[in-house]
């Protein structure tokens, strides 16, 4: 891993078309954090690293469903729409 030290307001450039800027360095609830700004062409997908894991977990949680769940959802939707539920 290439390790560079930057101060607030300073940047690094990747491949001529991606720029990562340290917008600010702060503390929140006693914990330090860095706010980064990324300037890059729209074709690049940029995510916080943990995003992929979060989506995997969400998909896995969503896969634990039953017919009863769908029935309950349909009823809730009809109720929200105030449509008759006597189907």
């Amino acid at each position: 891993m290439l390790v560079l030290t930057r101060r607030s307001g300073e940047s690094i450039v990747i491949n001529d078309d991606i720029k990562v800027t340290v917008v600010s360095v702060s503390t929140r609830s006693g914990r330090p954090y860095v706010t980064l700004g990324i300037t890059a062409p729209a074709k690049y997908k940029i995510f916080r690293e943990e995003i992929y894991e979060e989506i995997k977990r969400e998909n896995q949680a969503a896969s634990v469903v039953t017919a009863g769940d769908l029935s309950a959802l349909s009823k809730a939707w009809l109720k929200e729409k105030e449509l008759p539920q006597d189907q």
């Binding site: 729209a42 074709k43 896969s63 017919a67 959802l73 809730a76 189907q87």
Partner: protein, 143 residues
């Protein structure tokens, strides 16, 4: 109708063949079922829950499912149902883009921060529960 899910769903990358099945009850929900595995999801049409859900689908994702424009596709979100179904959420951050013509679908990651991973399907119910209006709802297993 059967679809090839390009790259599979995150967490289920080995499963590629799915079918969309109408639910027994009328409404905005359907089953997204794996053809060759014991796996299924409830999916919903996001426009019926969130009027302002107009995500920009990246060009390369549209190409992957064989279309030039999002107008040739249909968007679905995967629904997560916790203990109390009124707290159900839709994954608006990673919707499923479906093209019936090409028979392909893909779970697409939108821009980080644009739309939530857990968007409540029934925000009124959630608001009422939080305000303690109707009964004691079971808080979901998710945040």
């Amino acid at each position: 109708m059967e679809f090839i899910c390009i790259e599979g769903l995150l967490g289920f990358e080995n499963i590629h063949n799915y079918r969309l099945v109408e639910a027994e009850e009328p409404g905005p929900f359907m089953w997204l079922e794996a053809v060759d595995a014991d796996l299924r999801f409830i999916v919903a049409e996001p426009g019926l829950f969130w009027e302002d859900y107009l995500p920009e689908i990246p060009r390369e994702d549209l190409e992957a499912i064989g279309v030039d424009s999002v107008s040739e596709t249909r968007l679905l979100v995967i629904v997560t149902v916790p203990c109390d179904p009124l707290w159900a959420t839709g994954n608006c951050f990673a919707p499923i883009v479906v093209c019936e013509e090409s028979g392909r679908m893909k779970q697409v990651l939108l821009r980080d921060g644009d739309y939530p991973l857990k968007a409540h399907l029934f925000p009124e119910c959630v608001r009422n529960r939080k305000a303690g209006v109707s009964g004691a709802g079971t808080n979901s297993t998710q945040r």
